[in-house]
Symmetry: C2
Subunit: 506 residues, 2 copies
């Protein structure tokens, strides 16, 4: 009995790995589309991605997989729910159930459509031409709505179904509660900051930073943090991202502005956090849930931890400030460590999410969470999106975009059909705060190590407590195990008070 279950399990894992290899070709095609693909190739790229999406879908929904799952489920092999076998079966089964609800034609159509939609979006953003994007967005919403409904099944909620793809187990209702508590506590912090007469000067960040030198600096920082450049790359891409092609191949893309150091640098740190996680996942388990992150929120948490908790800390800059001065003597040469550190911790309402500070970031996310639910439910039409976006920014952040490029065209997620993705950013902040507090408690000399340029204690702790576990638990359960309590926004609020109280005197 067990022996037969064992055989089935091995066949299933072999099959899963085989299809993960195929699926990973998609990652190369995405990366290429973002970096080097000639414009003329976009239609063909859509066809390629559609073909691969169809094949990957075929695996997830194949009767063979169903049979193999059935042969293992309930067997002794999966009795211990934390064993790799049980974890893999639990998650492969969940994926099989969900994917079987999607017709292959829909999967292929979405891949084709969103490839083209992303190009249209990029052009529309560049030319500040929302009208050009709107009809394509309508198509993407229609196909995403159909996808969400199919995934949700009868009586289920389409938006929740999308959300669950990125953050298994999460629901919009639950997250609405989290957001409302979090925002309620963020507002007084933001108000105190706005009212404060203290205001770090950021002119140093807006000086001239040669882009080639920025790239080199980013490479060397990423390497110092532990990102292995023989098994990864950092390139210029349209949107900053990190793509896990497969074992030995993790690719970061980033963008740079010559007169805005933070913009490029903190995005790069963010993606490096993703990259460290991907490189830390079990390579032997590649293609199985044990070799995968439990959720996007957890992945995002890793990125936010390095970007903000580490990357905006004084200890971090104690080490890197000197190197930065050497690379950019004209911009930073005369600027003291403390002033530079204060500059990268300036809090200010801005129009764009990726460059926003830690305090306002979650308000940007809350706006998108609200708008995308309305787009999927149909309560908001794409015609009214630009206005709704402006209203929300005015209400939440007190500022209004001058045009759609810095308004509702700023992010490419919707063009990619990635609904339910945004809220995982805030979950990531929450997870990061909890995990970072636990790491600091466990590793007393952390700041001293950072100041000496040694980031291995934190990477080691994350490897031990997060990376190596893959999808052993849900993200919520992982947080509970590592920190002793479930996901909770209070660690984040505490962190923000602790960091910005002294700077702004509240």
């Amino acid at each position: 009995m067990t022996s037969s279950a064992h055989k089935s399990y091995q066949s299933l894992i072999a099959l899963a790995k085989e299809h993960a290899v195929l699926s990973s070709c998609v990652e190369v095609l995405y990366w290429d589309a973002d970096t080097f693909m000639p414009r003329g190739g976009v239609q063909h790229r859509g066809a390629q991605l559609a073909a691969l999406a169809g094949l990957v879908h075929e695996f997830h929904t194949s009767p063979k997989v169903a049979d193999l799952l059935a042969a293992v489920e309930g067997s002794d092999l999966v009795r211990d729910p934390e064993s790799p076998e049980a974890v893999n079966i639990r998650e492969l089964s969940r994926q099989h159930r969900l994917q079987s609800r999607l017709p292959r034609s829909l999967v292929e159509e979405k891949a084709r459509l969103t490839t083209v939609a992303q190009q249209v979006w990029a052009e529309a953003k560049e030319e500040n031409d929302y009208a050009r994007f709107q009809p394509v967005l309508d198509q993407v919403i229609a196909v995403s709505r159909a996808e969400g409904s199919a995934l949700a099944g009868p009586g289920g909620d389409a938006y929740d179904a999308h959300l669950g793809q990125w953050e298994p187990g999460a629901t919009a209702a639950e997250l609405t509660a989290v957001f409302s508590q979090l925002c309620a506590e963020l507002r007084p912090i933001l108000n105190a900051i706005t009212a404060s007469r203290k205001r770090p000067r950021t002119a140093v960040l807006k000086r001239e930073y040669n882009v080639e030198k920025q790239k080199m600096f980013v490479q060397s920082v990423a390497a110092t943090l532990g990102f292995d450049l023989t098994c990864g790359r950092i390139d210029v891409g349209v949107h900053p991202t990190c793509i896990y092609v497969g074992p030995g191949d993790v690719r970061i893309t980033n963008r740079y502005s010559e007169r805005d150091f933070s913009r490029g640098f903190f995005c790069a740190l963010h993606e490096t956090g993703h990259g460290l996680y991907d490189q830390g996942l079990s390579q032997e388990s590649f293609g199985t849930p044990m070799g995968d992150a439990p959720s996007l929120g957890m992945h995002e948490g890793q990125a936010r931890m390095w970007e903000n908790f580490v990357g905006r800390s004084l200890a971090f800059w104690k080490h890197f400030h000197g190197r930065l001065r050497e690379v950019f003597p004209e911009a930073v040469g005369e600027v003291k460590l403390e002033s530079f550190h204060a500059a990268v911790n300036r809090v200010e309402s801005t129009l764009t999410r990726p460059e926003s500070d830690e305090v306002t970031y979650n308000l940007h996310v809350a706006i998108r969470f609200e708008l995308e639910r309305a787009l999927i439910s149909g309560a908001l039409s794409t015609r009214d999106l630009p206005g709704a976006w402006k209203d929300a920014y005015k209400r939440e952040l007190g500022i209004e975009p001058a045009n759609d490029s810095e308004g509702c065209l700023q992010d490419g997620h919707w063009a990619a059909g990635m609904f339910g993705y945004f809220p995982t950013y805030t979950l990531g902040n929450i997870y990061a705060a909890q995990l970072y507090a636990a790491a600091r408690a466990a590793l007393p000399g952390l700041d001293e190590s950072f100041a000496e340029g040694d980031f291995s204690p934190l990477v080691g702790w994350l490897r031990e407590n997060v990376y190596r576990h893959g999808h052993r638990w849900t993200s919520a359960e992982l947080i509970r195990r590592v920190t002793g309590s479930g996901p909770d926004h209070r660690a984040l609020i505490e962190h923000l008070r602790g960091r910005y109280g002294p700077v702004y005197g509240f």
Copy 2:
């Protein structure tokens, strides 16, 4: 009956196109491996390519394809052998027959093995360490021998089977005859050149040419010739190549030396010739034989035509010499057109094939043709390859490589399992000479157009006579139709005499 044949035909073409899209993902992965893939990613890349190769093979050998072919073959639809339908059926049927002889496991194994072998080869070449490459080469030869035997079938010849993959219909026996005639007529030309006291000075080509400027110059030349950069790219890669990803996406890679202008420039021209052909193939027919070249020899012919027949002509440099002087005033500013033109037409025995001149090039190819037949038949062991290579160079070109990097490690074809590929280079030269002579006869003012920077008459003629026909005929038949006689080395000899006689005074 015809209507049912028509339906089957349409299903077959849809299937072929679908699988061509999948197969084209392989091209992106190759391109990426050659340009940007981190070293650590090579094992995973091998797994990706193996998975895709297996799927593509599955298509070619599927019973569904066999049934559809059977339903169309012999029907009215394919009565006219030159109709697109007949051409597509003829070639899909041939591919089906051949691919059905290969077990899928062998196809996957070869894809996996050669991906890794190419990396080992590149490292061995860099470090001049043949011993490191030899065991991998043994493995590649073993799998290629098995592949050749399977393709050839009982009693067939393994090497001929490889050759036929690249040049349908060609046999080693036939090509041996061609090579022996060609080489017999090349030797007196080479002897006359070697004996001549005239010797164009090439110092101008060895001055300092900033690599970034070379890249820009190459881009602008390619665009002038007609290569569409919105539907293609030119990047730096380990080996110069041209990859046809799909409609709207043709990618050239090239390499540059700061102190060797010809090396980078003529390779780039060569790849541009490939690129013009790929961009000139029927996009609607992509994924079917009507949208594909009839053979590698024909493709190579296009490349060699632009590299040598056009690119080393005085008319070409009448136009580009001025631009080159502007870009590299220090290197070329004082050098007259005639001296520059003479420099790029210097004939000299060199150790490396891609940079060799038009006269000696075919001797390089003849050496490889001889050695690879012996490797596949087993008459030559890999242990003896470096010595056999040296002996052949001494015999044919009177020079001997100082080490294996410039000897038997110089080309990556064998690492890639591409046996039978080299002789198509010489076929390409033969085809190019015949086609170019026909084009000149048909287009009297060609040199004047070139001198004015207008290359569209030649591109137009090639589109009309070659590109648009795809695989309508075999290469030999296409040559016959366009030039009035079958493939024949005499046009090449005539071209060489015509060009080098005046330069070297014979």
